[in-house]
Each structure stands twice: as structure tokens, then as C-alpha cells.
Symmetry: D2
Subunit: 392 residues, 4 copies
Amino acid sequence: MATRPLNVGLIGGGGGAFIVHPHERAIHFDGTRRVVAGALHPDPAFAMQEAADWPYPIRGYPSYDELIAAEAKKPVGERIDYALIVTPNHVHFDPAMKCLAAGIPVFCEKPLTVTLAEANQLVAAVEHRKIPFGVAHTYLGHWTSRFARFIVRSGLLGDVRWVDAYYLQGWLADRTEDKGVMQAEWRVDPKRAGASCCGGDIGTHALMQLRYVTGLEVKRVRAQLETFVAGRQLDDHFTAYCELHNGGRALVRASQIAIGHKNDLGIEVNGTKGSLVWVQEEPEKLIIRLPGQPDRVYWRGAVAANDGFLKDLPAELMAEPNIPAGHPEAFHDAFARLHRCFEQDVRAYLDHQPFHCDGSQYANVEDGRMGIAFIAAAVRSHEQGGAWVEMS
Amino acid sequence: MATRPLNVGLIGGGGGAFIVHPHERAIHFDGTRRVVAGALHPDPAFAMQEAADWPYPIRGYPSYDELIAAEAKKPVGERIDYALIVTPNHVHFDPAMKCLAAGIPVFCEKPLTVTLAEANQLVAAVEHRKIPFGVAHTYLGHWTSRFARFIVRSGLLGDVRWVDAYYLQGWLADRTEDKGVMQAEWRVDPKRAGASCCGGDIGTHALMQLRYVTGLEVKRVRAQLETFVAGRQLDDHFTAYCELHNGGRALVRASQIAIGHKNDLGIEVNGTKGSLVWVQEEPEKLIIRLPGQPDRVYWRGAVAANDGFLKDLPAELMAEPNIPAGHPEAFHDAFARLHRCFEQDVRAYLDHQPFHCDGSQYANVEDGRMGIAFIAAAVRSHEQGGAWVEMS
Amino acid sequence: MATRPLNVGLIGGGGGAFIVHPHERAIHFDGTRRVVAGALHPDPAFAMQEAADWPYPIRGYPSYDELIAAEAKKPVGERIDYALIVTPNHVHFDPAMKCLAAGIPVFCEKPLTVTLAEANQLVAAVEHRKIPFGVAHTYLGHWTSRFARFIVRSGLLGDVRWVDAYYLQGWLADRTEDKGVMQAEWRVDPKRAGASCCGGDIGTHALMQLRYVTGLEVKRVRAQLETFVAGRQLDDHFTAYCELHNGGRALVRASQIAIGHKNDLGIEVNGTKGSLVWVQEEPEKLIIRLPGQPDRVYWRGAVAANDGFLKDLPAELMAEPNIPAGHPEAFHDAFARLHRCFEQDVRAYLDHQPFHCDGSQYANVEDGRMGIAFIAAAVRSHEQGGAWVEMS
Amino acid sequence: MATRPLNVGLIGGGGGAFIVHPHERAIHFDGTRRVVAGALHPDPAFAMQEAADWPYPIRGYPSYDELIAAEAKKPVGERIDYALIVTPNHVHFDPAMKCLAAGIPVFCEKPLTVTLAEANQLVAAVEHRKIPFGVAHTYLGHWTSRFARFIVRSGLLGDVRWVDAYYLQGWLADRTEDKGVMQAEWRVDPKRAGASCCGGDIGTHALMQLRYVTGLEVKRVRAQLETFVAGRQLDDHFTAYCELHNGGRALVRASQIAIGHKNDLGIEVNGTKGSLVWVQEEPEKLIIRLPGQPDRVYWRGAVAANDGFLKDLPAELMAEPNIPAGHPEAFHDAFARLHRCFEQDVRAYLDHQPFHCDGSQYANVEDGRMGIAFIAAAVRSHEQGGAWVEMS
């Protein structure tokens, strides 16, 4: 049945930002969401210009304060149904809190905040107000991420012993931040990025993948943060050895100086009975390996609900609207799945129905908080010469 | 600068069709195109119901005749800016001709028609009326397809000697058409699919990839069409040995009974100086191989305009709006690129400006006709025991 | 129990030959075979010099006639136990016939002969004299080749519908034969190589792999032989479309001008129930694909006799003396397996016991003859404009 | 020029040992080395029986003491030219010292000894007596290992920042040692294996690969040793974070509980200008990645001395006796290269010529000692809660 598309308001996204573009396409993807308003830049005049230059007509605002105030006054159906926050890290907390105060659901880029205190406040605010809140851990949107989560939880691999979760890049191998690359500039600046560059920016993705797929939490961590490029204040290489709550161990690794790696996020889960391997750059497949058996390479779209080995794949996984195997889904498809799932929760919220926001389909505010807590613990461990530090 | 989104009218697409969905997402992708109207099914009542069930409000029509008539009367800006034809093969010709007669640009699924006579008429109509006409050879939309085309034309590989172009699937390895799978039913029916199932449905994609990447035309062909599944009237396995206009040779191969192959479209071009390899299921990379040199694996988004080996990559290739390497683009991205390029031509047409429609960015009506001519020649060769048959 | 090593006599192999070296290592591999004599070159003086330069002391002979005559007079234990023929194609027949006449088992390089008449004579001579005769189709020696053969014969893939067997190389993409490369010189010379260069040299390997793995014979063939490099008399690119005895179809393809391909021999077998894929350059694995199931990647050494899917793997396959999975076997291991199996037959022959020589472990003289017959039919088809030609 | 084959004496290798078999084939490989004597087992009667059952006649000895004593009395040419020690770890030191005392060159399995004190003694003895001494770090024998070493030393990758060296296996994921698998039994026994199972057995290979390829030494280490399988006394999972002498960092990782990994040894070297990737299970290739350039995949045998990018490849690398690209070399080829290089040094030693034994072609006694020192430091770090421990 045809329904009106949801209205999305952008906070941030102008001035050459990268991440707004995948969000845009993800918002557009299904035809059931659209951008209607934006406070696209901290400079008011530039923000208005950027809004006027948006590919199609939207309401421009000179600041997010004005956007939130004005939109909150409009009736539902005209006003924005949710806000997308795509500002640098240090400008997540304030607009997110203000949206929540105005009753506007929020989809926020990661890392959630730059301090753990802020993250805790956001968690409290979301719990208090019971408003959908999503965090853009894109890679949970891959069908194979959800399939991996099902596999581990099904017990097929036994108890988890060891996890290798990593995210390796090479784009900061030299002083990219001095070459006018906005993406690099703010990431290496402690004021805008927080206490960690590499760990916070991409290590948190590796952690999120670990937590999502295994359902396990980190108990304590010992970490080494390295800065290989001279003159940089924050880490560009990050290694954390973790103890998990079930007694297992994990490496959470990240690098921005690993030349040749593009967005090499991956996870390997080793259990007492078998292992699985997933890599983001080839998101259509999941490999499962059991002793004395051939490697099983599963392809999205070609997994039967019962193949004599896997059983009882949940209807939700099987019914997923997607394209047939061999016509690959990729980054934008994952992004779109996040917004599609968030849309469902927002529509339920608007209808005063219960909504999930339980972390099973996209990361929620608590997932965001765990990323901040992990980085805080890792930085503390590093400062203490690599000692074990408990997660809080 | 914000501009109004283009309006797209759908002809076909209801009742469980597959291919309409990627088109939908591709239309939505950039926010600058939207579906506003549809004649979604040959059954008028069902067509109206399907339109009412569209994810967002559109104008439903009981038939494409009514859609074309009604839309043509609306002023530009309200009426559809182009029609997308996603009906079965035998219902391409009639609505396409009628759209052209009404001055409406057409983006049509392939194969263009079921007979060569119809294809010739369409070509003539397009030439006469000078209206943008696109054919949905999706895989031209991959950045790597366009990069491959540049590489061959740059002369890096020397003269083309041998091409292997193939499209292998396994989904018709048993009587899928008896299991209520609509996609299979019409494809194996000569009345709806034309003279070839496997060759027409997917062999034409392999041919298109060959023609697009090499710029070479097939001069003559000898072909074997096989029907492995009992009771089927059309081929499910297709092999054509081709002589190219430059004296080179090519295999154009297709199969629908190759279990384990999903949408395994690929091309290898062998020249006097080197070769390239491209496969659709891993569309982010292109491999170039020269004698005495390492294999060069190029990744979309990580290709420099001058890497000391490749030189003078055209600005068009470099400026392509896309996402960074390692965040893979895939099927929907390619689909969207087709509609994005077609949009540019439609906007030029609406502004009474020259438009390209020259086959360099998406397949045009002549490309569609060549597919039909190729299949006609292959069927004739098969009927003559595999004799050489000239392309017409 | 320790036994004396078998004595091998070489016919050919001097003067920069390539193929003698893998044979050498394969002979040495187990410590149970050694080279003791050689007629290494047609030039008598050079032959004697080459023998003196052999890495360890052997008996040199100025000609194979003298080698055969002298060795045949020695008592068993001192004389050569088998001859290895590694001369160019046109010098296989004569020494092979003479060895057989002298009661000396023969292991011969392929192609067996340059004419079908000679091949038929050799087959007759072997049948008449009942002497072990092997042909060096190396790739049968891979464990995975034997495993593939078992899989097809087990019925797991159903009836074979379509086979793609190919061997692609690039080393003759330009006039290698003019650069003093002995390997190239004789291969492109009709007098020394026979009626086909590419088909005879490597197409026969693809055919052998097809026949060994599927157990099916070619019924008739239509072929295209191309010569892409100007001035060459024989084909450097070979394509044969085959009808198999069971009604299935096969492509047997070979190229020597496919730049970037090194020794790209592979086979894909498609049956009514599933398919398998094997490639020589990654000989440790075999991929099996069934509908609705994950791809199964089997690794040599990691295959259980019963993994709940495969059953009843023959003891022979399981007991194979080899190294554990992940310590890859490769070309020399395959070569050594041929000589090891041939050694067993030679020892049985010396003990007046029955020996196998049935083509299940290495190619025999009949396999060699089939290669010659295939090329003869393909050449005939080519001469008749690609008409169907029956195998004889 | 033909020369007499070198005589090898085996110490250990009987009773179902695994590693003796690759050594055997490596000794046989070229025809210029052979096994002539053996003390194959600690049980004298069994040792004699095993010698009698050797595939070909050799001199059996009831103990290595007797072997060394008897062989040392024979004249050169009759006596063993070198000893191969393939006993469990704790039986390396004593026979090695005794061989050295008798003037017999030694090729010894790794790890060199079970204590650092012993290793130091062996180093001193070798230096004192100036006798060739090799340690069986097999993977240095791969052509690509040597090529990787050349690449790093050529400066192409700039200064080394970060190395990931790992060796992952899954065969000890459950209590393999209770199932009568001799290989597992002694490895998990502190008395026979030393202070570390996983680190000592395979972590040392990862370390050796790091040291060989980069030429860098570990300065200090912090390590975590885990025992995942209940009841085991030694580690089955090993993670060491290392500081290198040049200021770079490295992970040296090993696991024996990583199901699905067979012998997954690999190394990635990241420098300021580029990176390289090598994996043992695909030993034919080396990948080099530079910013803004395609991945370069180099294949053994297909590397030109000057491809316009690499320059001045040493003659030694180019002249390497091997088989053409695409006919893969693998484990036995690498093993054979070690013995072939050691043979050259032994022949020089016998001729009273200088010999190399400098670690450039195979590991020497100092390399062996570094492995022991590394494990000692790692175990100490682990005992101190993961503190930094300097290498000694």
C-alpha cells in the first residue's frame, strides 16, 4: 500500500563531506524516504548556499538549532520524521541531544561522541525519552553480517575462543592532512576527533562487527596505539588484545598506514567446533569451516533455508528483499538496509507503536556508547604501558 | 543547483517481476528521478491494484496505451519525462513505438524486440524522431566496464586477436518453468521470448560487453544451440564462434544449466600486446596483463590519472561521482549509472539541446538491434548445421 | 623393505630441453628410481658430452639405438628397467617401437606420435608384447585429478551435460621461435610437431583431463584452428566443439597467444545434479557446487573418507602417501606420482606378475592414441570448414 | 660435470615421524644427495628394523652415538657428508654437539633446542669449529621468500613500519594428543617440546619469515600465551607484539586451534612507501602494493630482470634453476632448495673452501638461536602479565 515517504533532515553534510553521499543514496534507495531539509554547514551563509545547491529542492537552514526549532513546530507529515547527523565527531552530541529533546528520532554517524561522559548522557536521554536512535555502523547492513550473526548464535561453531576483527586502511600513510583533504584534517585533530584517530574512526567498526556477530562483550583490554607519521597527535595504528566475557580472546586491530588496504574490514570467529570468515570488501560471501569438511562458501541469495546442514534459517533472513545471487549487493545496499530498518522503527514510533531499536538490525545508542567506552579503555591501557584495563 | 526531479512512467513491472526492482532503486538513487506513473500489468484491474500498492503514491493506468495517451497530454514538468519498459520481450516493440510517436523518451529492457524486423523499425523510428532511447544493458554501467573500454581503445593491448565473452547461469538446470517461477516461464516460451532463450536472454549481454569494450563488430558467426532440459522448446546452452571485423575471433558463450554459476558474466580480451580480464560478479576490479610484467589489478576508485603506466585517463572517467575504493560498488550502482546518464540526455532533449545517446555511456537502440541481429544469425547458423552466417 | 632402485634410461633430454628436468626430479623423488644411462641428443658427440655433464655419473650413449642394444644385453638389475622418451614429437615412435621390441618398458612424452598410423602401430605393439607403457600426461598425477574422477564416477553430479576443458598459454604470442628458444622452434615446425601445434601440444592435455575425469569419449568434433602470429605454419589457437558419447557436449580449447596465461589448464564438468571445477595452477583444491548449497571447496589432504556428504572414498585415494593439507603439493609431486605408479607396474612386470597400466593412474598407450586421433579429427574438421568429423 | 652424490645420515625419522619424509624427497630431488645411513629411533632394535625397511638399502645404526662414531671413522666419500637431525625438540642439542665435535656438518630441524643456554652453546660450537650448520626453516626455500627479501632490501617499500607475521593451524583444536597422534603428543609435552608449544613450533616460523624478509631484529616483546584446550600444559595460541630495532612494530601470531587454517603462514610488510603480501599456501606469488598504483601480482618464473619498475634483480634470483611459471612449485621444491644450498656449502667445506652459511639462503645456527631467544622472551613476558621484555 502506498504511503507517504518519510522526511529526513540533514545536520551536516555540506562542504565536501564524503559520508553524506552514501546516506543520501541510502535514503533515496527505496523511494520511501527523502531529504526535505538541511543545516548543512556551521557557516550559516555557506549552509544556505549548499542547501540551494542540493540536487533537488530542500528547505535550507543556517544552523541545526534553527532547523530543529523550525521543524519541531511543523505538523507530522510536513516536518522531518528523523534527523541524520553527519557532522564531525565533536558535533554529534549537541544536535543529538537537542533532537531528542524535540522528540525527533536521530540517525547518527559514528563514533557516537568524543567522550564517554557524553555517550552516557545520550544513552540516558534515549532511554528516558524512548525515541528511535540509530548509529551508522554501516557494515551491519550487509546480509552476510546478519547471516554470520545467525551462524554464531545457532551454535554451529561451538563456543567462541578467538576472534580476529580488523579494519585496515592506507590512506593516511603520509601527511594526507596537509594536502587539503578535509576528511583527513579533522580525523587527526584531537579537538574534533576525540582521544583516538585510528581506533575511534575504524577500530570501532571492527569492535562493532565483533559484538554484532558474536553477541559477546569485551571484558578488559590491553592496547598499543602507535603514531607512525611524524607530527601527528593521534594514533594511526591501533592494536587491542581483548578478553571477552565468555573467556575467549580477541584481537581488535586497525591501521590507517597499511598501504594497499582500502577499506579492509573483516572478522574471523573461531569456536570450539568451527570458524567463519567475513570480509567487507567481498560482502556477498561468508565462509564456514568445520574440521574434516570442505570449506563452505555461502553466497547471499543462494542460501537455502535448509540445505541439510544449516537448518531453520529465520524467515526474516530468508524474506529479505534483495536481488538474486550473482548480482552483487555492496556498500550502498548495506547503507540502505540500515535506513530501511530505521524507517520501520520511525514509522512505528510515529504510530505510537512499540519499536525495536534493539541492535539486531542496526546499531543503537548503546552500541555507540560501547565503542566510546572501548576506545576510552584502550587509550587508558596505552597510557599505562599496555596494562589490562576493564571496560566500564 | 536544485532542479526538479525527472518523472518516470513504468510500462510493466507488476505481478512479481524481478527486473523492475533494480530499475526502481536506480531511478531513486540520486534523488533526481522518481516514478510518477505506471501501467504495471496487462490485466487492467490488476494493473490499477499494483499501482495503488506501489511503495509511494503514483498515477496508475489500466494499460500502457492509456498511460501514453494521458501523459502525453500533460505539460512538461507534470507529465512523464521518460518511459521505462520492463515487460516481457514480446511486449517491448509496441509500447516503445507508441512512446516514440508521442515524443516520450524510452528506456527499454533487453532484448530490444523478438524479431529483427521490429528492431529495424525501432531503429528507424528513433533516427527519424531524434528522441533519447536507451537499452538496459546494465553491465555497461560498471565503472570497470568503461575503464576496460578505455584500455582497449588506448591501444595498450595492441590489436585484438581473441575475445572470450560469456554469461553462465545455472538456474534453469531443471524444469524451473514448471515450478511457478514466472521469470522462467516466459523465457522458455518462443512466443514471448523469441527464437532463443539462453542466447537471447544472456548471450546478448556477453555480446554487448564484447562490443562495448572492444568497439569491434561481429562479421559472421557459427553457432550451436543446445537444449539440455527435456521438453524445452528453446536453447538453454549457447555457443557462438565469431569472426570479428578486424580479423580477430571471439567465443560468445552462454548457459543456463551451468549449476553453481549465478550471474557469471565476464570478458577476456587478448591483444597482440596484452590482455584484460573482467568479471561481473567482482565488478570492482580489472586485471591487465602484459608479457614479462606482473599482473596489474586495478580497483575502481584507486586508479590514478597517471600511474607511470596508464596515461591520460579521460576526465570523465576520473571525475565519475562514486565512493572510494574498498567500499564496493555493485549491481545497483551500475543500474543507477545507466539512468543517471540517460537522465542527462533526457534533460538535454527537454531543453532542446543536443544529446549524446551514442552508446558510450549506455546502450542505444542500435546496440539493441545488434543483439537481435546476432541471435538471428546464430539461430540461422544452428539451423544450417553450424555453417558460417554473416551478420546483417 | 629396502629394494634396489629401478634403473631408468633417458632417450633425449640434452641440449637445453625443458621437460627432462621435471622427469629427473620425479624419478629421484622417492629414492627408489634413478637415472643410470642416457642417449641424450641426436648428435653423438654432444650426447656423450651431455652424459658426462649429468649431475651424477651415468652411462652415456651416442644414440638411442646403441643404448637400447647395449642395455638389452645386460642382466636385469644392471640394465635399465624402463626407458623415458623425452625427444621432440617426431622422435617418439621409433625409439618406442625399438624399446618394446627389446622388452623394455617405456614412459613416453606426449603427444604420442605425429601420425595416427604410428599411434595405431604403437598400440598394437604394446598389446602384442604386454609391456608397461606410460604417456606423460602429467596432470593426471595430481591428487585432485584423481579425486575429480572419483566424484564424477560416483554419480554425485548426475549425468554429464557440458564440459569446458581448456589449456591457455601466452608464450607464443609473438615470434618466440625466432629468438633461439628451442622449445618454440620445434613446436611450430610441422615436420617435428605434426599437424597441429597448439592443439597437439596442449589441447591434448585438455582432452586427456576431460577423458580421465569424466570417463567419456568424444564422438565427433568440429574445430577451428587459428594462426594469429604471421608466418607460422601451424595453429597457435585451437577451439573444438565436441559431442560426447553420452550425448553431452564439450569445448576443448587451447591457446598459445593468450598473454597473461601461463599454464592455465582447467576443467569444469557440469552434470544434471551439480558441477565441479579444477584448475592446474591451483592443484590443491577441487570445487563442487550443488544447487541450493554452498560451494564446497575441498583441499587435498583435508578430505575425510566420510564427511556426511561424500561417502566411501576409496582406500587408494585416502592412503595416498602425501603431505598434510596446507603444505602444497604441485607440479613435481604430480610428476613423481606418475613415475611412482609406473614403477609399480614395472616392478610387477619384472616379477612376471600382472600389472595394471589401465589408465586409472597414468595415461597409457591408448590414451596417447586418443590424443592423436582427436587432433587428426580436429584438423580434418578445420580443413572441411568446421564440419562435424567423427573420431576414429 | 658429474660428481658423486653427497651422503646424508639421518638422526631420527623412524616410527611414523612426518617431517622426515619431506626431507627425504628434498635430499633425493636433484640426484646429487642420498641417504646412506640412519639412527632412526631411540629404541635400538626398532631403529635397526626401520633402517632395514628404508625404501632402499642404507646402513642402520642402533643409536646416533654409534652412527656418529662409526661414520666419523670412514674416509670422506664413504662416510656421511652431513647429518640430518629430525628428532623431537629435546633431542636436537646432544647429537648436534656430537656431530660438530666429529667434524660432521649438521642440518637440524627447528626449534634448534629447548633452552636458550643450549642454543648459545651450539652457536659457540659452530663458530669455534667453522662447520656448516643449517636449520630447517623450510619456507625460506620458496623463491618468493627470497624475492620478498630482495624487494624489502631494495628500498622499494621505504622504511618498514609494521609487519604482520602469522602461522595459523587448526589441528590441535581438540585433544588430538589423546588420539594416538605422535605429532601432537610430544608437541604438548613440556619435557620434549620446551616452554612453548604453539609459539615454539610455529610462531618461530613466523618470526623467521619476518627476520629473513625484512632483515630486522626484534628488540623487545610483549606476549600473551593462551591454552584453549583444557588439560594442556603448554600454549596452543600465541600473540606477540614486538618492537623492532628500526622502531617499527610487528605482530607475530600463531594458533593451533584456528579451525579451517591448515598451514596458514604468511607475512605482510608495510613500509613508508608500499607493502608486500606473501602467503605460504600460495607460494607462487608475491603481491606488491604502492599508493595510487594497481596491485602488482608477481608470479615466480614470470618476473623479468627489469620490467620498468623492478630493476637489477640479482643474477642469483634470475638464474635459479626452476620450472616455468604456471607449473607451480610448492613445499617439496622449497625443501629441496634448502638442501641444495646446504649441499653447496658442504661441498665447499669438504674442499676446504670458504662457505657461506650466512642465513641468506637457509637459516643458520644463529637464526635458530634467535627463535629460542624470542620464545624465551615471550614466555617471560607472559609470566610477567604481558610486560615488555627485551630480547637477549
